[in-house]
């Protein structure tokens, strides 16, 4: 016996809220991508806990997919951020107004 399943969900929910806070409030592209990473991490905690709750390995398989998607998203996202920094010289999303 470890802990009730609700506590695992509560921890995952708190972490997800922190990730949303980070990517909504911060005015820095790198911190926004970091917030998305925190959210994906929280979802993986919920998946692994649910996998233990129902004795089913599908949850752990999904965490494997989440890892791959996170790696892809970070590589492409950071490439886009570096490109945007070269074009505008800023990390602030408010400065990306070339179309205006």
């Amino acid at each position: 016996m470890i802990v009730p399943f609700s506590n695992v969900l509560a921890v995952a929910g708190i972490l997800f809220a922190l990730g949303v806070f980070c990517s909504v409030v911060r005015r820095n592209l790198i911190m926004i991508v970091l917030g998305i990473e925190i959210m994906l991490n929280a979802v993986s905690i919920a998946f692994v806990g649910a996998s233990l709750r129902w004795n089913n390995l599908d949850g752990q398989t999904f965490v494997l997919f989440i890892l791959a998607v996170a790696a892809t998203e970070v590589s492409v996202g950071l490439a886009i951020i570096v490109y945007a920094f070269r074009r505008t010289g800023s990390f602030d999303p408010g400065n990306f107004n070339l179309l205006r």
Partner: protein
């Protein structure tokens, strides 16, 4: 409370505290290093939940590869420490409203779902069992994910070549 439960609460408190410190740092290097601490804690949580292979992957991929990629970008581009307002006062009211709605809905979901009060058993999926399950039931998804990684590689290379 058993020893496992004590470890769970200790590690979760550490993970949440490290994440909360990380998302409020102005210095990006400090934020990334605090997040590495958070991901190590998550790996220990995975180990507690009986997923030792995923714990190893979490350390190698998340704390090892992804965070080092962030560190590379932060150090490659010389960032001036901007006078960034972390929490603008004009957005305090909408943030409070949506945060309270989120908390209420989360508590309702967690307490309303039947079966969330069940204690988790101690059960370990060894890497051998996990690999057999993945490649017997989800082999097609693994192929699709590998294609996605290839596409990500091509996209990053192409974006790096653009002038």
């Amino acid at each position: 409370m058993t020893l496992y439960g004590f470890f769970f609460y200790l590690i979760s408190a550490m993970v949440i505290a490290a994440t909360a410190i990380a998302i409020t740092r102005r210095n990006l290097v400090h934020a990334v290093v605090y997040l590495i601490v958070s991901f190590f804690g998550t790996a220990i949580l995975f180990y507690l939940f009986g997923a030792p292979f995923l714990a190893v992957l979490e350390v190698i991929i998340y704390a090892g590869a992804i965070m080092v990629l962030f560190l590379f970008v932060v150090m490659m581009i010389r960032t001036e420490v901007t006078e960034e307002v972390v929490f603008p006062r004009s957005q305090l009211l909408p943030a409070a409203i949506f945060g309270i709605i989120y908390i209420i809905v989360a508590i309702m979901i967690i307490t309303g779902t039947p079966g969330t009060e069940i204690s988790l058993n101690i059960l370990v999926a060894t890497p051998r069992q996990f690999a057999l399950y993945v490649f017997q039931h989800q082999w097609f998804s693994i192929e699709v994910i590998s294609l996605l990684l290839l596409l990500g590689l091509i996209g990053a290379l192409q974006l790096g070549r653009l002038k």
